[in-house]
Symmetry: C2
Subunit: 385 residues, 2 copies
């Protein structure tokens, strides 16, 4: 009943502290690249993932604003939000709309302009992804929540401080090969261990940065992509799930149930298993997050995420390369845009356009995008035809 859907265009500009550009400028530059890549100047509908344009730049009604400045009025334009998983949600909405037959060419995108406010204000805005009344108002912020997870994982599974650092080292090594990354620099385990303490055991080099940036994709029915003689990168699985938003309500804070559930749905739809994956992008907002995500995705056994990283399983040369783009850690994390940028990396890998970080012969990829401390997750699986 549902139509096959393909990604036929991707667009992204360099991420960073883009003080010289406004939100609408960043968006339009990015979206035009995706349209150019798809060979289109018109779309049928658009989705914008953004976590908190209201708190970051004082602008809601965001999709209408951006459709206007992109010259696409009167097309339907919808902004969607699932905290840091807003980009993944935009992808899923576009996927459903194309699959349903409602529209053919849909622009799905994500954006966040985070550096126009003070550090305090940015921390407050990000904190609204947690349960404000039961977490935020009592003083905890996201580094603290993930520090609790990290400490529990270390206690329960013997994960080491060094293994956490190795996630950051790997992702920065990958990011150093990505010219669009915010911090395309290699770092060492020592530099992570000696960086400023944020929330014990997490140090500043365990944390993804504050970033301005956008990312955009064009989706269409796979049939149309074939007619247009485009490389056909199909979305073969889409899974979305929620979990309790407050950490205190979970039975085991080291286990990301929403990622497990979203992955299960995506694997089932795609008819694939973790062992079928050639390359994956995951939500490493903190180093411990990548470790927990690998476990919830079934890529490694429960408790083995740190050890697998140490053994090189997830490196560029490993059995299952993870975050070849540099991940949130090195590439940057403009929260609403992250879920879309993950897809861009997978599309580049499956098209064999990933340059020095290309995984040879990659055919199947996965993206995992997460809101807050795992209150929501989106997992998508892609296959090159």
């Amino acid at each position: 009943m549902m139509r096959e859907v393909a990604v036929i265009g991707v667009g992204m500009t360099k991420w960073g502290e883009l003080w010289e550009k406004s939100l609408r400028t960043i968006y339009v530059e990015t979206a035009l690249l995706a349209l150019e890549d798809a060979g289109l100047d018109h779309i049928d509908s658009m989705y914008v993932g953004s976590m908190s344009s209201g708190l970051f730049v004082g602008q809601e009604h965001l999709a209408s604003l951006l459709s206007d400045y992109l010259g696409q009025n009167p097309v339907p334009a919808a902004r969607v939000e699932s905290a840091c998983a807003s980009g993944g949600l935009a992808l899923r909405m576009g996927f459903i709309e194309v699959a349903s037959g409602m529209s053919d060419f849909v622009l799905v995108s994500g954006i966040e302009k985070m550096t126009d406010v003070s550090g305090y204000e940015a921390t407050y805005a990000l904190g609204t992804a947690a349960d404000q009344e039961y977490e935020g108002y009592h003083g905890i912020t996201f580094p603290g929540l993930y520090a609790l997870i990290a400490r529990a994982h270390m206690e329960k599974y013997g994960t080491t401080r060094e293994q956490l650092a190795m996630v950051a080292v790997k992702n920065h090594r990958n990011g150093s090969l990505n010219p669009l990354a915010q911090y395309p620099y290699q770092i060492s385990v020592e530099s992570v261990l000696n960086s400023v303490l944020v929330a014990d055991p997490l140090r500043v080099l365990d944390c993804s940065p504050i970033t301005d940036g956008a990312a955009a994709l064009v989706l269409c029915p796979a049939d149309k992509a074939r007619e247009m003689k485009k490389p056909v990168i199909k979305i073969i699985g889409s899974g979305q799930a929620t979990d309790t938003i407050a950490l205190s309500s979970r039975k085991d804070i080291t286990w990301l149930e929403s990622t497990f559930q979203a992955a299960k749905r995506a694997y089932d739809m795609a008819g694939k298993k973790p062992k079928d994956l050639d390359v994956i992008e995951v939500h490493d907002c903190f180093t411990i997050a990548e470790i927990c995500v690998l476990e919830a995705l079934g890529v490694v056994e429960k408790g083995k995420g740190g050890e697998a990283t140490e053994q090189g399983l997830t490196s560029l040369e490993g059995k299952i390369p993870v975050n070849t783009s540099g991940g949130l850690k090195s590439k940057g994390h403009p929260v609403g845009a992250t879920g879309i940028a993950q897809v861009i990396e997978i599309v580049k890998q499956l098209r064999e356009e990933a340059g020095k970080r290309q995984i040879k012969g990659a055919k199947i990829g996965l993206t995992q995008n997460m809101g807050g401390s795992g209150g929501s997750s989106l997992v998508h699986i892609f296959e090159r035809e």
Copy 2:
């Protein structure tokens, strides 16, 4: 290819200044009513329309929070935003998801908790629906934008100050018959004309209020609704469109192009014309808005909205009753919830459950929900089977 979709459950509690209830309490009470009406205790997916929970209550990641407190984890939950049209957008997303075959039972809802902040903060939050850089930062707020539209309409078409007042009088009369309305009181033309001036020519009784409230619907495939022996209220048309977000970019500020375009798409999908409609709910955020919307929907000719109101065309006894619920004016306007509450009124009318405001034999209804000063519009058409 797309499946027929029906509304099988509706839920709404009394709207007002609900200082004794938190956002999550208001939501759960409302959503449980909709589930009870549908005869369900479980759903497959949910959408929450909310304009700015970030600015109003410091909470993003809203859909995950609410799915958690509704006891529905791990179902997919998405928050969508199109300013004051966020509710209409949630409906459309649920419609597409059910029509696509992705899910069967989808809860679509809207919520806004607006009275926990000061009047200044609420005005700022609402102002983020305008183009902040080109409108808001120069000092204009929504009453001012709609006052410009009203003045232009009066100049161009001879619409009178009294005709504007008559919109409010009609809607308050209807609202006086709706026990869930925030202000279920009748008012007179004189009281409108003598009320406090907000932005010339608009007075406070021309303006919809600040409200706390939620509204929820359950959607499912029409086939399932029939199997469940429920009254089948089908969604036969869905249209969404955008326009320039800033008023200054429009050729004619008295014309709501996004509503015209959204209506055209909805009429085309439904195979209906304005003359086929028995009852409609429109976005009367200000009295002038209802007049312009009637024209853009094709219910009256261009420029004739005021005259039609004066002649009683849109009253309960008129040819085409408009805002039988009391509209935003009397029922209240918790911005994200409005588009869903409009549907609840239409469903009640088509089920013949509208009590003293029942339109006899109503079979086809329409809802029109609008963001900002018309930067986005959603139009839906419903038919009783």
